[in-house]
Amino acid sequence: MRILTIVKQVPDSNATIKVLAEGKGIDFAGLKLVADPFDEFGIELAVQLREKRSDVSEIVALTLGGEKAGETLRIALAMGADVGVHICDPKLETKDELFNAAVIAEAMKKDAKGFDLILCGKHNIDLDAGAVGPAVAEFLDLPHVGAVTGLDVSADGKHFTARRRIEGAEEVVECDLPALLTIEKGLVEPRYPSLPNLMKAKKKPVTLLTAGDLPGVAEYAETTKFVSISAPPPKPECKFIEGEPPQMAKELVRLLRDEAKVL
């Protein structure tokens, strides 16, 4: 069984995002970048499958992004992936999810051995978008199960049963491999790579791909147009009304009418 995990480099969830002038994008200078925590679930799941099963032959980690995204690949390799694929070309940099998915699908087509299981996060925390996974599955004509919270792969490695939470219930899906799964929080807890594994990760092979390696990408057009980005308005300050309930109620009504002007 060969497993592919797709990893994206994103700003740390606690980092303060600064917007560039005129909303041209976000300021990456000094911004702490990490592997997307949902994608890390995918890597962890792949590594755990190998620890549990004897038939996992290789775990490949793939990322699409600028030079710095290579750091994210190193994290995946330190966690236990065997080899990396880094699609790195400014010509391929876009915020269009479908285009990104097409690039990844083209890169996967170049892989002669093929993958039995493709894993990625349910969504990415940077743009809160989750189209890449399902779109890659579509482009490769593979089945896809989204937001998986439980997984059982059959002993022969040909089928799997996945669980996913849906509104008010849990859905159980049976499906054949190969397939693409996007992982929801709660299925696994990503490991903290040990120092020797971080060292070993530096020596694991990473294949660099550029636009020239993926001629098929030309078939696809960007479907999303980036207009501008802006920071959310700052939270207005809370106002506490003190006193006895009758006075508090009166004061609240006054404030709603006179200050907030909503009554």
Binding site: S194, P196, N197
Partner: protein, 681 residues
């Protein structure tokens, strides 16, 4: 009295001992290098204070007195044993000057009798502790009782020998002033026949002579090895500040060479650690004061040492066979003596229960260290096996991504100072005082109030100070104590660069966090950062002493003060926080029973703050809160943001939210006249 037999006895006794001692010597040399040969003057002084005068034994007054008597008795009776061995060859042998007719001989005889009696009393005290009181810190086993039995028998045999000699004297039994014990014992013996007396005299003589040798041969195999190793162990104690953990040098090089980070195998401990194992007296004082042991955790410092010692002894032959000599590299090779200690020798739960409070080290009469060993074993677990309590991962990741273990946004680090008119070091580069705030006091809503109170007090006193603002990062202390030395060193290097860049080495650094205080003061030296660091308790008490702060508002409250481990035991700051409080009119400082160097940990240290407490019968903070509540306080005061969190939780758990938990700075601020507009003061 039988020269051939005595010769054989001595040969066998000393021969067997030489064999055992040489085995222990070889095993000691399996340990890795550690230079403990510096500062001989200071080492000799320490040895006199703690090895000879045994100042730490006095912390348990009765046991200390009993031990002192036995210790002195052994010294006095050593000469007696030599004399008796000599008399095996020549019945009148007495080392010349000590002959019975010489003054020195008479004086010595008297001293020897006195101590024989005192040693009997001392040993009986220990029998009482073990058998009658059954103190929890002691393990009731055959070894302890056999040794006490031998000591008692030696003394009795010695007196018996003298008594029979006196009883047989041609002048008839009489009271010999310089042999009081023998004379008294001779009175009943006078009733016996001469043949019986001859027998008893021989019995006493040979029993004493032989028991000394048997005792000698038991030493290397028992807790009584400390009779030999105790004084050297005190001499070779660490002279580094207790707050400084030795750094792992050249981590990346070690990784390249596949050497262990931290301690994985028994032969990776230093020779001094092995001497610690030899020296443990099993007195259990460490565990008596360990917050983990007290609250039912798996950790007992005594058993931690004994488990390592027993494993070391079990594998002594394999370890000394040659291949393990000082080897740091390599790991599992399937052989028992090379096995990972965390796989069956020391349960990881034991390691993770430690709060690094140093109560054990403060108490140990023979200066055995614990915290460095526990952290070294954590270093291996965390860095190489990546095995640690899961909650620590978010602390590590928070530090990596946001330079604080809670993952607050680093951009918000100085938000506490909004509107206070506080300048950063960039705005006020010549400020003589740098206020190092720390993570919790920067971000935590409750702890921010400590920071604001401290800043207000400094403003009030006209102190020209600045903060690093968003350039400040975690000191790395939680990572270091959790065993993540690599992460710690990243912070140490980065912070030293920032601090040296703003000339902090020529300023006074003030901080309200004892953990930051300790790391900045004691641990950054290894990374090129040498600073004058003052905890806010010391700084504030000095401002009061200098008349710059006048606590004039009376505060008629009974305040119990809780010592922070990293302030007190680690850095000997006990008085400053008390003085800060005591200067307030009307305020009474209460002391819990467990106070100052015996103050119990709040439970947060050693990265416990960032993980779930290990399973036990009680939570450390609740136990400590209970101790504080026993003083019936109106306020619980602390001088550490971590302690504050633990004690606040403890008071809530005890249903005593009516008692405010305040930092000394907050209490002081209440007592200092604050003008309406403090800004720009």
């Amino acid at each position: 009295m039988g020269p051939i037999f005595m010769a054989l006895l001595l040969l066998a006794g000393w021969g067997a001992f030489a064999y055992s001692a040489s085995r222990r010597w070889k095993l000691l040399r399996v340990g890795t290098a550690d230079n403990r040969f510096d500062q001989p003057g200071r080492r000799i002084r320490e040895t006199f204070r703690y090895g000879i005068a045994q100042l730490r034994m006095r912390r348990y007054p009765l046991a200390g007195a009993a031990h002192m008597v036995i210790f002195l008795g052994f010294g006095v009776l050593l000469l007696r044993s030599l004399i008796l061995w000599g008399r095996g060859f020549d019945e009148s042998f007495s080392f010349w000057l000590f002959a019975p007719e010489q003054f020195l001989g008479k004086a010595y005889s008297f001293l020897k009798d006195l101590f024989a009696i005192l040693v009997i009393f001392g040993a009986l005290v220990f029998v009482y502790f073990r058998v009658v009181r059954r103190l929890g810190r002691l393990t009731l086993n055959a070894e302890g009782l056999i040794i006490l039995g031998i000591i008692l028998a030696m003394m009795v045999a010695d007196i018996l020998y003298d008594a029979a000699t006196i009883a047989r004297a041609s002048s008839g039994p009489g009271f010999i002033l310089y042999e009081p014990a023998g004379s008294i014992a001779a009175v009943p013996l006078g009733l016996l026949s001469d043949a019986t007396l001859v027998f008893l005299r021989h019995l006493g003589f040979w029993t004493h002579s032989a028991l000394v040798l048997i005792f000698l041969n038991l030493l290397p195999y028992s807790k009584h090895f400390h009779i030999i190793t105790g004084v050297p162990n005190v001499y070779f104690q660490s002279l580094q500040p207790p707050g400084r953990l030795p750094p792992i040098e050249d981590i990346e090089g070690k990784l390249e060479r596949e050497e262990t980070l931290g301690i994985r195998r028994i032969d990776q401990f230093s020779w001094k650690a092995i001497l610690d194992f030899y020296t443990c007296t099993e007195c259990g004082r460490c565990s008596d004061h360990c917050p983990a042991t007290k609250t039912g955790k798996k950790l007992s410092p005594k058993h931690f040492t004994l488990d390592l010692r027993d494993f070391l002894y079990r594998n002594a032959d394999a370890l000394t066979a040659g291949d393990g000599n000082g080897s740091v590299a390599g790991g599992a090779d399937g052989r028992e003596h090379h096995k990972d200690l965390v796989d069956g020798v020391i349960d990881p739960e034991v390691l993770w229960a430690c709060t690094t409070c140093r109560a054990c080290e403060e108490e140990c009469p023979v200066f055995i260290s614990y915290v460095d060993k526990i952290v070294d074993m954590r270093r291996y677990l965390v860095q190489e096996r990546s095995e640690f309590p899961p909650q620590l991962q978010s602390a590590f990741r928070g530090m990596e991504s946001n330079a604080n273990p809670w993952s607050f946004s680093p951009a918000d680090r100085a938000n506490w100072a909004d509107g206070m008119g506080i300048r950063t070091i960039a705005e006020n580069p010549d400020a003589p005082v740098l206020f190092w705030v720390g993570c919790m006091p920067s971000f935590d809503e409750r702890a921010k109030k400590i920071t604001q109170a401290t800043a207000r007090l400094m403003q009030q006193a006209g102190v020209d100070f600045a903060i690093l603002g968003t350039d400040e990062q975690c000191t790395g202390d939680p990572a270091r104590r959790a065993g993540n030395e690599f992460l710690y060193q990243m912070f140490a290097k980065a912070n030293v660069e920032v601090l040296n860049g703003v000339g902090a080495d020529k300023k006074t650094i003030v901080t309200s966090c004892p953990h930051c205080f300790n790391t900045l003061l004691n641990e950054y030296g290894d990374f090129g950062g040498h600073y004058r660091v003052v905890h806010h308790s010391t700084f504030l008490s000095q401002l009061i002493a200098d008349g710059k702060l006048r606590p004039t508002n009376p505060l008629s409250k009974k305040v119990v003060f809780h010592d922070s481990c990293y302030l007190g035991r680690y850095n000997d700051v006990y008085d400053a926080p008390r003085e800060t409080l005591a200067g307030i009119p009307g305020l009474t400082v209460l002391e819990p029973r467990q106070t100052r160097d015996r103050g119990m940990c709040c439970g947060a240290g050693g990265a416990q703050m960032f993980k779930e407490e290990e399973p036990g019968t009680q939570r450390v903070n609740i136990e400590r809160t209970q101790q504080l509540l026993e003083t019936n306080p109106e306020v619980v005061a602390s001088a550490c943001p971590f302690c504050m969190r633990m004690l606040t939780d403890g008071l809530a758990a005890k249903g005593r939210e009516d008692i405010p938990q305040l930092d000394i700075a907050e209490v002081l601020l209440e007592a200092v006249q604050v003008p309406q507009s403090h800004a720009g003061a």
